[in-house]
Amino acid sequence: MSAPTGEATRAAAGRPGSSAAPDALAAVRALQSGSRRRLVTVTLALAVALVLGMGVRVLLGGYTVTIPDFLAILGGETIPGASFIVLQEKLPRAVAGALAGAGFGAAGALFRRTLRNPLASPDILGVTQGAAVAAVGMLAFGPGSGSGAGMAVAALVGGLAATAVVLGFSTAGRSGGRLGGGTSAGSGGLAGALGGTTFIVAGIAVATLCQAVLSGVMLSLNQHDLQSAAIWTAGSLNAVTWERIVVLAVLLVVLLPAGGMLHARLAPADLGGELAHGLGSRPGRTGLGALTVGALLAAAATAATGPLAFVALLSTPVARGLTGGRPSLPAAALCGAVIVVAADFLAAEAFGGARLPTGVLTGAAGAPLMLWLLVRSGRRS
């Protein structure tokens, strides 16, 4: 600090246009390639972990399948017993777990980045609960109850509705005109509410309301539906069918690239609304898009597997820890996928005869993490 910038600056200013000195270039290149290498390494490692996890899920456990048998089954050969278990039970669970986990993880990354709060995640803000209420409502009252597409549509509508209610309440009364002169001026609407805690409070209220409605709807179900609804709302891959998987896969193919683009576009929003605006970003508008895509991702995953507790909340901080603080939507999505596949395997196999719903395990792992995040964010502010 003691050496004044004077000489260096004047020398630098003397050079034309935008050419930088070789040593500065080398320093930046080294840092850039370092962080890029770390991001690529982490993403690849997560992808490998996912493939391994899915392999373990399909091949090992209570019923073991050898790799040659598995390949033979995939090739279309029928091995009595094994074929059914692999194609109707183990493989769909692994694929659905990976897809749903990716959906939850990406949704968490989008909410986290838009709302700039470590607790902002679709499972805290009532999005997954809203989707669950709508899906169970469809099961109870809808036509052709329990069809994959019908429940998926209902879950998407429910998730979006819950998001809209949370947005509506947390941006109400922020219509720009109220703010005068101060530093927050000109930041009405969503852009002004971003980064606030109003979202969290409104979200918890909506989540609780949805939970209450869900309990009410469940009571109106007949005995058979009640059993499956109870397992599904705990978050379980038991009821996964190839039909649901196809619906989820189609939704992810559309939503994940859109989410990736919005996630990149929101990068300046981390720096506060004013600077983001100066960088040509429109955090309010882009943020609304990101929350919509995030809500759809979480709802689509919920429709397939039920509201797997805390997966969306867990994935983003874990991914950030691995990438060295750099927010990455693909890393968060992969983290979510790995978490769900691993949790499903453990829930099914690690507790002897008792096959727990997967959501019980993710919930048990997520609750302490949520408390830790709460303590940490409280300490910082």
Binding site: M1, P4, T5, G6, A8, T9, R10, A12, A13, R15, P16, G17, S18, S19, A20, A21, D23, A24, L25, A27, V28, R29, L31, Q32, S35, R36, S175, G176, G177, R178, L179, G180, G181, T183, A185, G186, G195, G260, M261, A264, R265, A267, P268, D270, L271, G272, G273, E274, L275, H277, G278, L279, G280, S281, R282, R320, G324, G325, R326, R380
Partner: protein
């Protein structure tokens, strides 16, 4: 609302100075405001009564001074278009700001706000990298032009050695230079700074403003960037600025070289401040010496 934007309406200038450029025959202004009013809801903060006309000179450093709440920051927010104009026109480097796409505009005009938010666990290089956002494509892929611009910005802000340091570990002066480097990496010909020297001690204030006033225009070789800084410290403004705009109650009261604008009469009008103004013995710019009635009596 008065919106006579056609004729060159000179605002109510008090002591003969106008809001026009310092040299009428010089290059066209970098920023030209005509008939502009800015505000929040139905409260007009800039240009109440008489809409604002203002020219800011190209390739020079302009300091905007004025008492708290006189509309300085609001004016900057209008220049970045974060706050939409209620009336009037804005031209930047001869082009109308109307229908100018946000990212393209951000490649021409950069803003360093008063209190930007530093995300956790970010190195200086990663922070400065964010300044490249308006130059990037849909998925934010990096190019060698980005590397070049970041290196150049770090070099100008004298932060090359600290490029890999976590932002939270920087001193106040270093952190402010890191924010400035972010804005420099944006490589815009026009740079707006909202109180860039608050929270800095005196030597770092001078250091930062000397850096700011020597910034090169990244788009035109051999030319200085147009810098517009809101400053509270009058003597710093006087020392660093080529052009000073004094604002009071949302109006431009005077604009011109520091020697013309910083007069006892103007300080009385803008701040209600009794002051003597003397020339700096070494550099010649005016130095403001505040007085109270007790000072006058005691003397």
């Amino acid at each position: 609302m008065d919106t006579e934007s056609g004729a060159r309406a000179v605002p109510e200038a008090t002591d003969g100075t106008t809001a026009g450029p310092p040299s009428p025959g010089g290059p066209p202004p970098a920023i030209r405001l005509r008939g502009v009013t800015l505000g929040y809801g139905d409260r007009v903060v800039v240009g109440p009564g008489q809409a604002l006309d203002l020219d800011l000179p190209t390739g020079q450093t302009t300091a905007i001074i004025g008492a708290n709440g006189c509309g300085k920051s609001t004016l900057l927010r209008g220049l970045t278009r974060q706050l939409p104009r209620l009336t009037g026109t804005l031209e930047v480097l001869g082009r109308s700001a109307e229908h100018w796409p946000a990212r393209s505009y951000a490649r021409t005009v950069a803003l360093l706000p008063q209190s930007p938010v530093a995300p956790d666990g970010m190195t200086v290089e990663q922070l400065v990298d964010r300044g490249r956002h308006p130059h990037r494509g849909w998925f934010g892929a990096r190019t060698s032009t980005d590397t070049e611009a970041i290196a150049r910005a770090l070099e100008l802000a004298d932060l090359v050695e600290l490029a890999g340091t976590d932002v939270s570990e920087l001193s106040g002066g270093q952190r402010q230079r890191a924010w400035l480097a972010l804005v420099l990496a944006q490589q815009t010909p026009v740079v707006l700074l909202d109180e860039p020297t608050s929270y800095l001690d005196l030597s770092h204030q001078v250091e930062l403003m000397d850096l700011v006033r020597s910034l090169p225009d990244p788009t035109v070789a051999g030319q200085r960037a147009t810098v517009v800084a809101v400053l509270h410290e009058l003597n710093l403004a006087s020392r660093s600025a080529d052009h000073v705009v004094a604002m009071a109650h949302g109006q431009v009261v005077a604009a011109g070289p520091p020697g013309q604008v910083l007069t006892p009469a103007l300080l009385e009008e803008v701040y209600g401040l009794d002051a003597d103004v003397v020339p700096d013995p070494l550099l010649g710019h005016p130095v403001v010496l505040p007085r109270t009635p007790a000072d006058r009596l005691g003397a």
